[in-house]
């Protein structure tokens, strides 16, 4: 009996990450049973779409220690790629998505090889510039992108004769993909490649001395994060049915980076929380919506001042500190 509980405890300890992902997935699967309001489900669906992109971006910003203020461009390229291939191209969505992702990966590679020689502010500026160029292309290239009014009539996502329509079905598609993205990311950061990136984020010279190919690692993780964003973008296009250029401007990129930072640099669970926070916040503001940008910025500043490690890690730290204080108060109280 004792041996059995010990074995169970050891199993839980060894598989805690996998079990956490499973637990979260089960909890999320039950949400549509409780939450039937389609408008609210719609907001959660947007959270899932942002989470997919934020998870990829966190690998680049959080683990590899780089910065990108241009990931909405990859999200947009994914959305436009799928939109164009399924409307003008007549391809089924399940075929358009990987084709688009491959194209975006190639784009990221071409952009990444020169720009990832930069770091810090310079890298931020270069990626921001890339986003502006892509946004201009969306607006100006009328015959292909539909110009400022964008593209409409994009079919919903479907695979194997199964079409995802309505908020509830979309919810399962989008959150299923987000949980898959979480699983992949969780696997990744626990691998040697993931450790290599964490090492180069701390010290490139030391990482190289351990045998980490710093340049290849940065380019590969940049490309990978672009593919995450592209998949999120493709699903976004099929979910909304329309795409317009303004969804993919530089402010969208900054929002993605804020999700990662608020959630906690290098915390995958934090990226989910960050995506939820940044997506839901404007809806909670209600009548204050006109002041959205100001409040948004203010909240980011406050979170970073009070919880510099992000929401999740920061709150855990606060709880630990509170608990430790109380504990020491109990144990040090004179008898």
């Amino acid at each position: 009996m004792n041996a059995r509980t010990a074995a169970a405890a050891s199993y839980v300890r060894r598989h805690r990450t996998g079990l956490s992902v499973l637990g979260l997935s089960c909890a999320l699967a039950l949400v549509p049973l409780v939450l039937t309001n389609p408008w609210r489900l719609g907001i959660l669906n947007l959270v899932a779409l942002h989470a997919i992109a934020a998870l990829g971006l966190n690998l680049f910003i959080g683990y590899a220690g780089q910065i990108s203020l241009g990931h909405a461009a990859f999200f947009g390229l994914g959305a436009y790629g799928s939109a164009i291939l399924t409307t003008a191209g007549g391809l089924p969505p399940w075929a358009a998505m990987p084709l688009t992702a491959a194209g975006v990966a190639l784009t990221a590679l071409v952009i990444g090889i020169p720009t990832l020689r930069l770091s810090g502010h310079y890298l931020a500026m270069a990626t921001l510039g890339f986003n502006i160029v892509v946004h201009h292309a969306f607006v100006q290239w009328d015959p292909v992108t539909g110009g400022p009014s964008g593209l409409t009539g994009i079919p919903p996502f479907g695979v194997l004769g199964l079409t995802f329509q309505g908020e509830t079905q979309q919810y399962y598609l989008l959150w299923g993909t987000a949980m898959a993205a979480l699983t992949l990311s969780v696997n990744f950061v626990r691998s040697g490649v993931g450790r290599g990136l964490a090492a180069l984020a701390e010290d490139e010279v030391a990482a190289a001395a351990m045998g980490v190919d710093v340049r290849r690692g940065k380019i590969a993780v940049f490309t990978t994060s672009a593919v995450f964003a592209s998949v999120g973008g493709s699903l976004f296009a099929h979910y909304m049915g329309t795409v317009t250029p303004d969804t993919f401007g530089i402010f969208a990129s900054i929002d993605l980076a804020i999700m990662v930072v608020i959630g906690g640099i290098g915390s995958l669970w934090g990226s989910l929380a960050g995506a939820a926070f940044v997506t839901i916040l404007p809806h909670l503001l209600g009548p204050l919506e006109d002041y959205k940008d100001i409040l948004h910025g203010l909240i980011v500043v406050v979170v970073l001042l009070v919880l510099p490690r992000g929401l999740i890690a920061g709150l855990v730290d606060l709880a630990k500190a509170r608990f430790a204080r109380r504990w020491s108060a109990v144990t040090t109280r004179p008898a």
């Binding site: 626990r190 691998s191 490649v193 450790r195 290599g196 190289a208 351990m210």
Partner: protein
């Protein structure tokens, strides 16, 4: 005696030259390290020791000269390629990954064996799981060897200075490298900790490791080295056994000054 090349020689450099804006940091330096021996590289500050190490590890490109390690020419290789040939190093200023745990720091030392494939990492294939488990056991063993087991889960930044020095050593030795460059492993340590690191170096040498030791602590150099090379002003001014070096008048003048060598 010129650099004798034999099959016992693991690393040789000849005519190694590096200038920084006209100033010679290294000039025609010949050097050899024998397998299974400790070769010390000494010299006053500014003698070119760090430049030499940086050339060997690919951080700097020498202007001239050759470096051959175990049959491979090192000139022109990137630092990670040199590391993957089996040359590990420690750093004078540590360069630990402060935010990572002690265990993860040591696991980073095994990067060359951890695989490069992103796809495999995302899917976490069974072969990757097995490999990770083996690496994990290797890392735990290294932590044990270097007396850091109790600190495995602490962030490296939270260690004491002596522990950090030992972690730097553990990170370099964990992969079982053919050659290890030790850049001032006891700088800043108190006598007890110095003795502890000295004992570790002797233990590693007995285990068959080939070491190049850059060090200021003459007691340590004299007690652990098989061969000593002396640099001054970017030139090799002497090479020989610790006993020879101790008596060499050039060395006494250039480096040791009037310090008595009665250690």
């Amino acid at each position: 005696m010129a650099t004798a090349v034999s099959e016992q020689t693991l690393l040789t450099t000849s005519g190694l030259t590096k200038h920084f804006g006209g100033l010679p940091a290294l000039h025609e330096v010949g050097f050899a390290a024998e397998r299974g021996k400790v070769t010390a590289l000494i010299g006053p500050n500014g003698a070119g020791k760090t430049t030499f190490i940086n050339c060997l590890t690919g951080i700097l490109r020498p202007d001239k000269g050759s470096m051959v390690f175990d049959g491979h020419a090192l000139a022109g290789l990137a630092p990670h390629q040199i590391a993957r040939l089996g040359i590990a190093r420690t750093f004078q200023n540590l360069r630990l990954f402060a935010g990572l745990s002690v265990l993860d720091n040591v696991l980073c030392g095994l990067s060359a064996k951890a695989g490069d494939s992103f796809l495999e990492a995302f899917i976490r294939t069974p072969s990757l799981r097995h490999r990770e488990r083996r690496l994990w056991l290797t890392a735990l063993e290294a932590l044990d060897t270097f007396g850091l087991s109790a600190r495995a889960d602490c962030p490296a930044g939270s260690l004491s200075y002596g522990e950090k020095k030992r972690l730097d050593l553990a990170r370099a030795f964990v992969s079982g490298p053919t050659l290890v460059l030790l850049d001032e492993p006891v700088a800043g340590l108190n006598p007890d900790e110095t003795e502890r690191v000295g004992a570790l170096i002797r233990q590693l040498r007995r285990g068959g490791a080939t070491l190049i030791l850059v060090e200021h602590d003459m007691d340590l150099v004299m007690s652990v080295s098989d061969h000593v090379v002396v640099l001054d002003g970017g030139r090799r001014i002497a090479a020989g056994s610790p006993e020879d070096i101790r008596r060499n008048p050039l060395v006494l003048e250039a480096y040791l000054g009037k310090i008595s060598l009665t250690a």
